[in-house]
């Protein structure tokens, strides 16, 4: 189901690059504000996951439509899992879902 290690590393590098300030300004990001509010996760948390996380699943690495699952930590060390899709050639990334590990949620509460 997942890709091999090397392509996943490439994907992670790309994603980290996306989250850095050197990304092209036409690169953009879509999210559901209701999802983030419901889970008490901020956009800065999501960006931090992109910057430091690892792509654990990618069904497609080139072109639009690739579905990736990224795992990483927010600033407080909570593990977040983000499901994203690359929806256009101009590097628009849509956050489909994001989850915080149950243990972390309880710790944070």
């Amino acid at each position: 189901m997942g890709s091999q290690l090397e392509p996943l590393n490439i994907a992670t590098d790309w994603l980290r690059g996306y989250a850095q300030t050197c990304l092209p300004s036409d690169a953009s990001f879509e999210f559901s504000e209701d999802d983030l509010r419901d889970k008490n996760i901020t956009l800065l948390d999501v960006r931090q996951v992109f910057r430091t996380g690892t792509v654990v699943y990618a069904d497609k690495l080139e072109g639009p439509g690739g579905l990736w699952i990224v795992e990483g930590e927010d600033f407080d060390g909570h593990i977040l899992t983000a499901t994203i899709v690359v929806i256009s050639e101009s590097i628009t990334v849509r956050l489909l879902d994001i989850e915080i590990e149950e243990d972390d949620r309880n710790d944070a509460a």
Partner: protein, 207 residues
Amino acid sequence: MTQHELITAVRVVPAYEVDTLGAPFRVTLLDSVHVNYDPKLDKDFVHIPDFVGMVNALVRSRAIHPRKLGGSEITFLRKALGVRAKSLASYLDISAEHLSRCETGSKVLSSASERMLRLFVFLATFYESAEDLLAKLDQPEVTAEPTRKAKVSELGEAFLQYFLTLRIQTVFSADEPLHFELVRRPAEEGVSPNLDEGDWSSRRLAA
């Protein structure tokens, strides 16, 4: 499913208030944010162009606003730049414990440290990595590359305009929350209209 149902509805929001950023002040994005309705998922998706550029513009806006930084604002600025508390404390020449207490509000950052912090966060928005910039300040052999948008002349003007004359306001009404409005400037002439080469900036500062 009809062709009509396959087309997602896109609308531009005249004034989009970003309450999912985790910012301890109000942030409104003017005439820049799109909301796409996805009928398959039955969800609205918010589209912020150049998200990182927007965050950097917000950081700069707060760095030059004279109101004294509160603890939650220090935390926000640090997280917005992706800087570890330990690195920032080292740069400010204070202990990590003291910075932590300042962020939680049990201690207050000295004026000298606050000026250093403001200078750093402003400058860091022009660099690819704020952590690398901090490392470079300690170890000149470390490489820290500015982004393509960094211009020495702009930085110099900003420092002259804002920081050398900055007087931090320590007395203000808590009933007047900070509110930043950001706009996306259009692309310079000669840039293809198909590319969004614009830039985020603060339209005005309201307090």
